[in-house]
């Protein structure tokens, strides 16, 4: 579904991605781990072109989205993203946060958009918070609304950029549970996260990034417990 070929991205002189090659198939859940500065967030942000790579290809459903002249807005409708700091719109209620893009981008009629938003809220277990503003929600609840907001666009793939690292420990589980349910429902997911429990339970593959390249990848059990590369071992010994 997504093919990444020789992806390069640098900021000024700093080369962050130095040639990433991988494939993500439909329904696959991929967890990306790596030290800070290893390029994992940048890689994720390239997948919906929040960062524009300088070299290489990202082929999504047969279309190279790095070609100049592609419609960015159209591509992003199919790629949902969940951010570390939620980035909910503070001036809109939970319901309005979710219905805004379907209303304005897809021109869905208001009543339909409302129903869509309500059903997404129900999925993440926050139906009773429909009319609450973000600042009245806990971090975990905000992140679940953010997931519902992304899902309301019915994306083909969902990107998660450290979705639980800004959360208090007691709220991490509620967000991970929603993500695990999505994985069971067959959503294609790319998740930057160090949540081992989630990776072991839900991931099909773990990618270890270092220095802007894929240093190791494989099933979670293999990468976490029988890493082949010495630097993977070293990194894991630091986070485990």
């Amino acid at each position: 579904m997504i093919k990444v070929r020789n992806l390069h991205k640098s900021f000024g002189k700093l080369e962050v991605l130095c040639g990433i090659d991988t494939e993500i198939s439909k329904g696959e859940v991929v967890v990306i781990i790596g030290a800070s500065g290893s390029g994992k967030s940048t890689f994720l942000r390239c997948l919906n072109l929040l960062e524009i790579p300088q070299k290489g290809q990202i082929i999504m459903d047969g279309v190279n989205i790095c070609e100049p002249g592609v419609n960015l807005n159209h591509i992003r409708q199919n790629v949902g993203m969940v951010f570390q700091h939620f980035n909910l719109f503070p001036h809109k209620t939970a319901l309005q946060n979710i219905s805004l893009a379907p209303l304005k981008v897809k021109n869905i009629p208001p009543q339909e958009a409302r129903n869509l938003a309500l059903s997404q809220l129900e999925k993440v277990g926050l139906l009773e918070k429909a009319n609450a503003y973000p600042r009245h929600l806990s971090g975990g609840q905000q992140q679940r609304v953010a997931i519902a907001r992304a899902l309301a666009m019915q994306p083909k793939v969902m990107l998660f950029d450290e979705p639980t690292s800004a959360l208090d420990p007691e709220m991490i589980k509620e967000v991970l549970n929603v993500m695990k349910q999505m994985a069971r429902d067959g959503m294609t997911m790319v998740v930057v996260s160090h949540e081992m429990g989630f990776a072991r339970e839900a991931a099909d593959r773990v990618i270890y990034l270092e220095g802007g390249i894929i240093a190791e990848e494989g099933p979670p059990e293999q990468v976490f417990f029988h890493p082949q590369a010495a630097r993977t071992k070293e990194f894991l010994s630091q986070i485990l």
Partner: protein, 218 residues
């Protein structure tokens, strides 16, 4: 020397006519200034260099020259080029253009104060930059800059007294008319000061209340 405020009572209807003109021109200029300012702020933040240059030049020039001089150019200078504005048009245009420059800087600061993640979230949902600006960034930015905008509104009402120099009979000039007949400068101008104060104070209270109401919902 005794003060005799009966001059105010006698000329009250005339002063009120002046006040009406002040409020009419000010509200027009506030509205226009707000529209100009918002557009210029967006132009200044756009990725098109020409728009950036034009909007910066406008802001710098207007802020760097006195309103009084700007009004003289509009009302006394332009007729030489064959552009004859009547005094009310010159007044409204002059105040709007002047206020627009200050509003532009306020709005720009407001937009830039919004976390980058807001734009990214909007774009990640497939919204265009314009759409994100309209539905996500601007509503938050404007709410945040209400206090400096209220300040600008008050400045504008006070600055409208300068319009007396282009013979527009607003509050200040109404006072000058009465003064040339009565020579009771103290009574007249203390009263006029009080009227300006009542208007601006009331506005700042009302808008402060509205601001708190808005804040409740976000």
């Amino acid at each position: 020397m005794t003060l005799d405020y009966s001059v105010i009572v006698k000329n009250w209807p005339f002063l009120m006519l002046g006040l009406q003109e002040t409020l009419r021109i000010s509200s027009l200029a506030v509205t226009m200034g707000f529209c100009i300012g918002s557009l210029v702020a967006l132009a200044r933040l756009s990725r098109f260099n020409l728009l950036k240059i034009i909007s910066s030049a406008y802001i710098e020039f207007i802020r760097g020259t006195p309103l009084l001089v700007q009004l003289f150019i509009l009302y006394y200078g332009l007729p030489q080029l064959g552009i004859d504005l009547d005094r009310r048009a010159a007044a409204a245009i002059g105040l709007s253009i002047n206020s627009g420059a200050y509003v532009a800087e306020i709005v720009r600061a407001g937009i830039q104060s919004i976390d980058r993640g807001q734009m990214e979230a909007a774009r990640s949902l497939g919204m265009s930059g314009t759409m994100a600006m309209i539905h996500v960034i601007m509503p938050q930015a404007l709410r945040r800059v209400i206090p400096p905008l209220v300040n600008e509104l008050i400045m504008l009402i006070k600055d409208s007294s300068l319009l007396s120099v282009i013979a527009l009979t607003e509050l200040m000039r109404a006072g000058e008319h009465i003064r040339t007949r009565t020579y009771q400068d103290f009574e007249i101008f203390t009263t006029i000061a009080l009227i300006y104060f009542v208007i601006t104070y009331a506005l700042s209270k009302i808008l402060g209340y509205l601001e708190r109401r808005l804040q409740v919902s976000d």
